[in-house]
Amino acid sequence: MIRWDVIEGNLPLIASKLLEHLALTAVAVGIGLAISALAAYFIRGRKRLVGPVTGTFSLLYTIPSLALLAFLVPVTHLSFLTAEIALVSCTLFILTRNILAGLAAVPTDALEAADAMGYGRFGRLWHVELPLALPLIMAGIRIATVTTLGLVMVTALIGFGGLGQVMLRGYNFRNDTLVLVGFVLTVALGLAADLGLGWLGRAVTPWSRARGT
């Protein structure tokens, strides 16, 4: 069923689509993280804002990605921008909620100690709160990245899609090899990101595993 000559002949296509897949994901998670960090910073401690903002992000998250693309296309056309808006929209909920949950999970006694020892507001945020929120923030980045890697496939419909494009081409031309290659690479990418970011999350928070004597 797998024809190696097809793979060989399409290597440049596969390679470029793989890169596109990674680029679309990286940009989406990067921008999503920036927006989420800002949003979390502004709504934190303002109870009246938390509900509406997370509610909006949650709505964007619930709306199927294909529908989101469909809403956008008449406005922003078949553009990179359209693809990224849809992808970023889906990361916001995961990332914002994890950042907020991470900050909320910082032990209050550590905060009190930080204040009492004379940390300023930003010193406390940077040296105490963010490091302690890091396990949940990293978990958010991990979930958001793996989710986005999957969602990128759908943007094949508007001419992007990375490996989704490889699969779609295989589907359109009845080329089973391309379908399989696209599938295997996608799953491999997802697993690699899941494991890799999980490892990274543990690597940057060595203290979270320190238990017992």
Partner: protein, 253 residues
């Protein structure tokens, strides 16, 4: 907003008001409410396919999750299923199945079932495992059999978590059923895919609107059930796990 060259697929002018008006007009056109391609028929297809997928997935994942969770040996299985579930995009699954099962319903259903299993399984295992150990021990102490402990103690306590798993599955299935149109399936995705093909913005946006509403209704419905069970209002959705380990639950849609 630059349109990439070579993709003059959509007639979109970028005029939001025009698109909006034509979409409203589309909904008002009685022709769009009758026949195979009418809104009731497409919505029916969408709902039936989704319900079928969730029911079949539940029939597999619920008993399996109960057994694994009760035996308290499920950590690795649940972690593995969650990890693989996250990494396999539904779109990829859908297209992968076409060479095997053919176009349309016959490919869409197995893909949707596979997609729906991980959240239900993971949440069932987690829910059962996380039941307070003292409660379980109290049940045992009163002379309950393993089965009675499971049905009378563990399941009621784990129910809210299990419902969250069902909700995650259902919302994902509703979203992914939209993609079934890509492999010549029915459902509301038809409007979007056909709209792209025919360069009809009103059809695309109408389809997107219907899909979004259905997904949100599904989400609200399960949230409502969950709140009834928990007997208290919640503000945060909990179906996306905050931490993926040891039990990641989220699966990409």
């Amino acid at each position: 907003m630059a349109r990439p060259g070579g993709h003059p697929l959509v007639a979109g002018t970028g005029d939001v008001m025009a698109v909006l008006t034509s979409t409203i007009a589309w909904f008002l056109d009685p022709a769009h409410w009758t026949g195979v391609d009418g809104v009731p028929s497409r919505t029916g297809e969408h709902v039936i396919l989704s319900v079928l997928a969730v029911v079949i997935a539940s029939a597999i994942a619920l008993p399996a999750g109960l057994v694994v969770g009760h035996a308290d040996r499920g950590e690795r299985i649940a972690t593995a299923v969650a990890g693989i579930g996250r990494a396999v995009p539904s779109y990829a699954l859908l297209i992968l199945f076409v060479p095997f099962f053919g176009l349309g319903f016959s490919s869409a259903l197995p893909a949707l079932v596979l997609l729906a299993i991980p959240p239900i399984l993971v949440n069932t295992v987690t829910g059962i495992r996380d039941v307070d150990a003292d409660t379980v021990e109290a049940g045992r102490g009163m002379g309950m059999t393993g089965r009675e402990v499971l049905m009378d103690v563990e399941v009621p306590a784990a129910l809210p978590v299990i419902i969250v798993g069902l909700r995650t599955s259902a919302v994902q299935v509703v979203a992914t059923t939209t993609l079934a149109a890509l492999v010549a399936g029915g459902g509301l995705g038809r409007y979007i895919v056909d709209g792209f093909a025919r360069q009809q913005d009103d059809r695309i946006v109408a389809g997107a609107f219907l899909v979004a509403v259905l997904a949100i209704v599904t989400e609200r419905f399960f949230t409502w059930i969950q709140r009834q069970l928990e007997g208290r209002p919640g503000t945060l959705r909990l179906d996306v796990p905050i931490a993926p380990s040891p039990f990641g639950g989220r699966v990409a849609d």
